[in-house]
């Protein structure tokens, strides 16, 4: 079977980008990746996106992007798995390369959220759970996560102050990230006193509504061998699903898709979690960071926030996470976030992370969820 390598990445600076539509966003990221490797022309384009139909009244993003890039007659299509769309799009690119069907795949994750007002965007995000029996009775995506957060606080006797360490860390790391949305330090008190969105989730526990796009060029080994410089191997790419309806799960605090995909990805890459030098995890809310790290077995149950407060996940510590600010502070243009994470891992592993660099990073793991761990994509990447 073929091996898959990332040859370049392209990023749009995340923000509320009033001057950029969905076509502008995905084409900007794509040409940034392609101009870094002018000798490569994609033979397949995969777009990761959650709700362009609702957010921009635009579907059919594969053909749209191919046409803008002036590439005709290739397979080009969109992949959707809610906020996990980006990670699942990269998974599909990986499969296309591994199978030998493609040699150069362009993957672009994109989301245009800010043409919607906040309640409309809230409705769009709620499509990640069961519309007929969740959104239709008034539940939003934040409220579902809030119910896991309350159950977590009760079960483990944990404190909001402990979990608030995650957004504090993300904001600190984003200070040095050129493409991050927020360049503002916050502290625990800011988080726990910020406005309530869905109690106990506060505004600063939550990733922002924003716009963005990120791209990767992924190639097979033969082409990788012909290229100079910065290459990263996709050592493994795994996707798993949890029960679709959050309430139906035997234990809503168990991220079984995260646990399963992580275990498979590590096994497939032939490593254990202690060999990972840097991780980008899906910190859509403070509670998702905690449940992710605990489901991966990195933190003890109920203790992830304490680990964060003790500095365990800082860029110069044992296991750096969200080194460019994560979803919370780099921003969470939902269908693009999984691609941003993998692009950030590429920057780390090629020594291109600037002020965000983790010294001598060799192996990275990225974690991207659609819904509340409903579809989870985990990718292990290795410096070549």
């Amino acid at each position: 079977m073929e091996s898959a390598f990332i040859a370049s990445c392209g990023l749009v600076n995340v923000g509320k980008l009033k001057d950029k539509g969905i076509g502008d966003l995905m084409s900007e990221a794509s040409i940034n990746a392609m101009k870094a490797r002018p000798e490569l022309i994609p033979d397949r384009i995969i777009v990761g996106n959650m709700f362009s139909g609702v957010g921009s009244r635009q579907e059919h993003l594969g053909a749209y992007l191919a046409s803008m890039l002036g590439i005709d007659n290739i397979p080009a299509y969109k992949v959707e798995a809610a906020c996990g769309s980006g990670g699942v799009a990269v998974h599909n690119a990986y499969l296309a390369i591994k199978s030998g069907e493609s040699s150069v795949v362009l993957v672009t994750g994109v989301e245009k959220m800010t043409d919607l007002e906040v309640n409309e965007a809230t409705s769009a995000l709620a499509m990640a759970d069961n519309n007929e029996f969740s959104a239709s009775v008034g539940a939003t995506f934040t409220s579902l996560n809030a119910m896991t957060y309350r159950a977590y606080l009760n079960r483990y006797n944990a404190k909001r102050e402990e979990l608030a360490e995650f957004p504090v860390l993300s904001h600190k790391n984003a200070m040095d990230a050129p493409h991050a949305m927020f360049k503002k330090r916050i502290d625990v008190e800011d988080v726990i006193s910020s406005p309530i969105i869905s109690e106990p989730i506060r505004l600063l526990d939550s990733s922002p509504m924003c716009d963005g796009a990120a791209s990767l060029l992924i190639v097979n080994e033969k082409i990788a061998n012909s290229l100079n410089g910065k290459l990263v191997e996709i050592a493994s790419s795994e996707v798993a699903v949890n029960l679709f309806n959050l309430a139906e799960r035997p234990d809503p605090l168990e991220y079984t898709a995260t646990r399963t995909a992580t275990k498979r990805a590590l096994e497939r890459a032939g490593i254990n979690i202690n060999q990972v030098d840097v991780m980008e995890i899906h910190d859509a809310f403070s509670i998702t960071s905690a449940l992710t790290l605990e489901s991966m077995g990195i933190s003890e149950r109920g203790k992830a926030g304490k680990d964060a407060g003790n500095g365990r996940f800082e860029r110069d510590a044992e296991l750096p996470i969200n080194t460019f600010g994560g979803l919370k502070a780099r921003g969470h243009p939902v269908g693009a976030s999984g691609v941003y994470e993998i692009a950030e891992a590429y920057l780390q592993l090629t020594g291109s992370a600037g002020q965000c660099q983790v010294p001598d990073a060799r192996i990275a793991l990225t974690h991207n969820m659609g819904g509340v761990d409903t579809t989870t994509a985990v990718t292990v990447l290795a410096r070549r």
Binding site: T122, N131, S136, G138, T140, S143, M147, T148, P195, I197
Partner: protein, 125 residues
Amino acid sequence: MNSISYERLKKRYTELIGVRCENCGKEYFPKQVRCRNCGSYRMVDAAMPRIGRLESYTLLNVPSSEFKGKEPIVLGIVELENGVRLVSQIEADDVNALKQGMKVKMKLAIIKDSFEVFKFYPEEH
């Protein structure tokens, strides 16, 4: 949700109709077409019990556009007597009086426009 889709789901919303596996007896809400417990495809409509316990809850201040102006909304995860769990609005005069594990009962409520669905309230309410 428009009136056509409401009509399609009305019985499920107002009578709490889910399904029961004819082979092993496990019940589900909303409906499931193959039993996760035994693999059977023999699933028949069944009314769920209308009593349960509150597993978790939240007070929502930023609702979706369909519920704009109805905030704050109390939402909960309710575990019914048959073990089925679902998301529902919770009727509570004082959200601070809600407690994990407290007994709740179902009623019908119009939660927006003419949208009448199940809603749970604390038994001592």
